[in-house]
């Protein structure tokens, strides 16, 4: 793979673009769609409502009633499929002979009756999926949710804690995260998603918890704090990765320009089967009729292109490609690979394997 045929990893950092995002129930949930194609949605419009599949309980009713044949149960049933039942409620039995009745061991719903058995399902945990952006529905995902199109700024990160929040984007106070307080009625940190340039620490997470922040955008976190981040009530987005990297000036400036706007932080946790990226989306008002370009997803590398280095001693640095070599070179570590010559904003020039470059388009 040389540079002519190489399509680098892209991570959005777009001040104004058209985006389309699926808003879906989890795969183990069932429910209904609350919007239709073409509907306008705002941040809090409920797109889908559902419940996670709850456990089943099999009640051997015919056996408990000592019936000779399972069909005999039909005449003794007090419930039908679909009926809600309370724990202890009579499911089947002869009228007037309460002691011989079969009672429900759980509160739930009757989902199946047959072969002398009544199958009950517990009540599942309800959940709603909100649009999280201002836009309109462009497609319906049957049984799962909808595809929503919107216009705004998008910044993608590398890791999230599986949580989503919508709130006002705020930068951390100049004298440190510890100064955040939402006690004052006019505190800007009410319902805030806070941006910090520093790695998340135990004390930062503590402040997030105590001040009930909705979300945090940080560059990195030490892996030993990952559990704490995963169990945090706030949505978390990392822009760089694990360790102690600081946020690049590029990303920080980008977010600074959006301070005070309503943002949706989608802290998607990456995985081998996860096609989505953790990201923050900020709706930006437009003049009527204005339509920004959609992201270009077919960028190849070229000189003067702005890139981010993703590995090595300069990981997280932003630079510009000043040369693309036709033949592979031997790196300091002995590998022989195709590289680009990158001039960093910090003044260094280095050779970076093509695979270790990210573009922002």
């Amino acid at each position: 793979m040389n540079y002519e045929t190489y399509f680098p990893e892209q991570r959005h950092l777009l001040p104004l673009t058209i985006f389309r995002r699926d808003r879906l129930l989890p795969v183990d949930a069932t429910g209904g769609i609350e919007v239709a194609r073409g509907d306008r949605v705002d941040l809090h419009t409920v797109v889908a409502r559902g419940a996670v599949q709850a456990p089943f309980t099999i009640v051997e009713a015919a056996r408990q009633l000592r019936l000779r044949r399972p069909e005999q149960l039909d005449d003794l049933l007090h419930v039908h499929v679909g009926d809600p039942v309370q724990q202890g409620e009579l499911l089947a039995g002869k009228n007037g002979r309460r002691k011989r009745g079969v009672r429900s061991p759980i509160t739930g719903t009757v989902v199946h009756i047959g072969d002398g058995r009544v199958i009950l399902q517990e009540v599942g945990e309800n959940m709603v999926v909100e649009a999280g952006v201002n836009g309109h529905v462009v497609d319906i995902r049957r049984g799962r949710g909808a595809l929503v199109e919107g216009i705004g700024a998008v910044l993608q990160g590398v890791w999230g804690n599986n949580s989503r929040a919508t709130g006002t984007l705020r930068l951390e106070p100049s004298d440190g995260f510890g100064r955040i307080s939402r006690e004052a009625l006019d505190s800007p940190y009410h319902n805030a998603i806070v941006v910090t340039r520093r790695p998340l620490s135990q004390s930062t997470l503590q402040v997030v918890h105590e001040q009930e922040l909705l979300g945090v955008i940080a560059p990195s976190i030490e892996p030993e704090l990952m559990n704490d981040a995963l169990s945090s009530s706030a949505a978390i987005l990392l822009t760089e990765g694990f360790g102690s990297q600081r946020m690049s000036t590029f990303s920080y400036s980008f977010l600074s320009n959006l301070e005070g706007r309503q943002a949706t932080l989608d802290g998607i946790q990456p995985g081998v089967l996860e096609a989505r990226r953790p990201e923050v989306i900020v709706n930006v008002p437009l003049q009527s009729g204005e339509r920004p370009p959609a992201p270009r997803n077919d960028l190849t590398l070229h000189t003067d292109m702005q890139v981010r280095v993703t590995r090595g001693n300069f990981a997280g640095n932003i630079g510009q490609i000043i040369g693309l070599l036709n033949n592979p070179i031997v790196l300091d570590n002995g590998l022989r690979v195709h590289v680009a010559q990158v001039y960093l904003v910090t003044g260094e020039t280095l050779y970076v394997p093509l695979e270790n470059l990210e573009v922002f388009g």
Binding site: D28, G143, E224, R246, G312, N333, L335
Partner: protein, 667 residues
């Protein structure tokens, strides 16, 4: 399938990181690869569609060959047209995504279920639930377990041929009930490979809810086992599930002769073919998410797949599975758990990236070596009894060893690739090392099903790159003392003599295809090459040359990072011919203990955070204990998959208590 000697064949493999396409055609009556394309796989953001990558790869081939391969609707043009556009055959393999979530149902674990596990070993299957008669859960619990495991496939086995069916059918009814209660209306797959007399009843039970596949009974009698047909049916099932999975597979595989085949079966096929020719073979693929090891000894073969071993998407699970110390023993510097875990996690976040610094290179290679050790441990019980006499014994001799995956193929240094294979597998005796540098094996595996002639011709024509022959010393030769005396007689009559000291590698650069006569003698007590003290062979050179590995078996890795800092750079240098890349002495210092820097303190600009070093032994002990507690906590989270908030909080509290206790003790 009837074999036609047709023309062009396009084989595409979708890996988790790379999509590779190869165009094969008849050149002077012989099948040859005539074009390659390799791009990043596009199954994830922003495309979520593998067909985008396919199109890019085919455009690369078109650019190189001038042949049009795509229709205007972006599907593969087939059959080939008189103007040479299009291809006659189109084959697709993949290792992308998750394995098939499979519920195994059988009568007894020790019999049919055991055989069923061997049948699934050769494909991307994750057994998410096992239901047997020995299962002491009640029926509700079993059904809930099945439903919560969200299976793609039910694999039913049990009953010897002609035996009773009642119990088997009772278990089957349990599966049917679970299917009926599942929330989604997806038609699942059922593979039945039990008592064949039960097939009609099984079909009747499952047909309203599932697609039913059948195969020969995996355990027709107590003594007999026949997992092969079930294994082949699992490949068909995988194809069906892969298509259901989305990510554009339906579009990408449109027109494919055999649907979507699992890549792993190709490694099995290559190992079996090479073993037929050379007696024994091992094919190792270390991927981003999945690793595969296929061993073939004579007519016996076994394939093992580990979905938790990989150097990209699965780097963190590899670390979890192997343990930190197993990785650390392959590193020539000091590294704490936190750095190792951060490195592995960052690899999972950006799986396609390459090691850029020396430290990163050692970390990736250490993960690979530790992962392959685990893979071999898992695989060996499936090998022949003789080959698996003792799990601690050296590997049995394998005549052919094939390495695949970016960690071997993308070094750009054949010597380094060869050394990595030697380190990871530690073969004994004389072995031919081969490298699947163009990722041709997945294509070959698919090709073998439709065009065996092309398969054989491509393999014989060097479709897989020969790295060279390796003579590996068994025993523990004395470091620095002669372990091998080598005499190489070149085709022009020139003679090269060399003494190879113990603990070192020596590579003679015998060019690709050049033949030479090798005389090699071992020196020292207990030092042999596969049990022999003298060896005389005519060998053919490879891209690395001829390799004499006098380091001994098991590989005498030094016990301390400081000693390994002298040892390992030397091995890399000997394998590549480069000057040794010395280890920075600072890397041999124990990582300083750290504290929460809070907000007043800014993190350093790059590299690891600098902290006040612990000054006393007591402090060091406290910090070390604290780190262990934290690491244990993180490992626990990895092993449990998803975090349990309650557990996490309890764990936190427990960890804090333990650390506080220690601090109190030393204050």
């Amino acid at each position: 399938m009837a074999e036609n000697r047709t023309g062009s064949i396009l084989a595409v493999d979708f890996g988790n990181v790379h999509t590779r396409a190869v165009l094969i055609d008849l050149v002077d009556g012989t099948y040859r690869p005539v074009g390659y394309g390799e791009v990043m796989t596009t199954s994830s953001f922003p495309h979520g569609d593998v067909s985008v990558g396919l199109e890019r790869a085919l455009r690369q081939i078109s650019r190189g060959t001038g042949r049009q391969l795509l229709r205007s609707d972006h599907t593969v043009l087939s059959p080939e047209l008189p103007d040479r556009s299009g291809v006659d055959s189109f084959l697709v393999t993949t290792s992308i995504g998750r394995p098939m979530r499979t519920v195994m149902i059988g009568l007894t674990r020790a019999m049919s279920v055991d055989s069923a596990f061997r049948a699934v070993a050769g494909t991307y299957v994750q057994v998410v639930e096992t239901i047997t008669l020995e299962d002491d859960r009640d029926e509700s619990a079993q059904i809930n377990a099945i439903i919560l495991s969200r299976p793609d496939l039910f694999f039913l086995v049990g009953g010897t041929e002609g035996g009773a069916q009642t119990t088997l059918l009772q278990l089957a009814k349990r599966a049917v009930l679970a299917m009926r209660l599942m929330a989604d209306d997806r038609r699942r797959l059922v593979l039945f490979a039990g008592n064949s007399e039960a097939i009609p009843q099984i079909r009747e039970l499952f047909s309203p809810y599932a697609i039913v596949l059948t195969a020969e009974n995996v355990r027709p009698s107590l003594e007999q086992e026949q997992p092969a047909q079930a294994s082949a049916q699992l490949a068909s099932a995988y194809d069906s599930v892969a298509e259901q999975r989305g990510a554009g597979f339906d579009r990408a595989a449109a027109g494919s002769a055999l649907g979507v085949l699992p890549t792993a079966q190709s490694y099995s096929l290559i190992a079996r073919y090479l073993a037929q020719v050379q007696g024994s073979a091992l094919a190792l693929d270390v991927g981003s998410a999945v690793s595969t090891l296929s061993a073939a000894i004579g007519h016996h073969s076994a394939t093992t797949i580990r979905n938790d071993i990989g150097l990209g998407h699965s780097a963190a699970t590899l670390l979890e599975a192997s343990g930190f110390d197993r990785v650390r023993r392959w590193l020539p510097f000091v590294v704490d758990d936190n750095e190792l875990l951060a490195f592995a996690l960052n690899k999972t976040l950006r799986p396609g990236t390459l090691p850029e610094s020396l430290r990163e290179l050692y970390l990736v290679h250490a993960l690979m070596r530790a992962g392959v050790e685990m893979l071999v441990q898992t695989a060996r019980p499936l090998w022949t009894d003789e080959a698996n006499s003792s799990p601690d014994a050296a590997l049995p001799p394998f005549r052919m060893i094939v390495g695949a995956g970016a960690v071997f193929a993308n070094t750009g240094r054949p010597g380094m690739s060869a050394m990595l294979l030697l380190d990871a597998l530690q073969p004994v005796g004389m072995s031919e090392l081969l490298l699947d540098g163009n990722a041709l094996i997945p294509a070959l595996g698919a090709l073998a099903r439709v065009q065996q002639e092309a398969f054989v011709q491509l393999l014989d024509a060097g479709g897989i790159i020969p790295l060279g022959t390796c003579f590996s010393v068994s025993g523990q030769p004395r470091a620095g003392k002669p372990a091998l005396r080598v005499r190489i007689t070149l085709p022009n009559g020139e003679i090269v003599k060399q003494e190879v000291p113990g603990g070192t590698l020596w590579v003679y650069p015998l060019g690709l295809g050049v033949r030479a006569l090798i005389d090699v003698r071992t020196v020292g007590r207990g030092v042999t090459i596969g049990g022999k003290r003298k060896f005389r062979r005519e060998v053919t050179g490879g891209t690395a040359g001829i390799i004499f590995d006098a380091r001994g078996r098991p590989l005498p890795l030094a016990l301390t990072p400081a000693e390994r800092a002298g040892q390992m750079p030397a091995w890399y240098a000997q394998a590549t011919g480069d000057e040794p890349r010395l280890i920075d002495p600072e890397w041999l210092q124990a990582a300083p203990a750290k504290k929460d820097t809070g907000q007043a303190e800014a993190a350093p600009k790059k590299g690891r955070q600098k902290r006040r070093p612990a000054t006393s032994e007591k402090e060091l002990e406290v910090e070390q204990r604290a780190k262990e507690v934290q690491a244990k906590k993180v490992r626990k989270q990895f092993s449990s998959g998803e975090p349990d908030q309650g557990d996490a909080q309890n764990g936190d509290q427990q960890a804090k208590d333990e650390v506080d206790e220690l601090r109190n003790l030393f204050s």
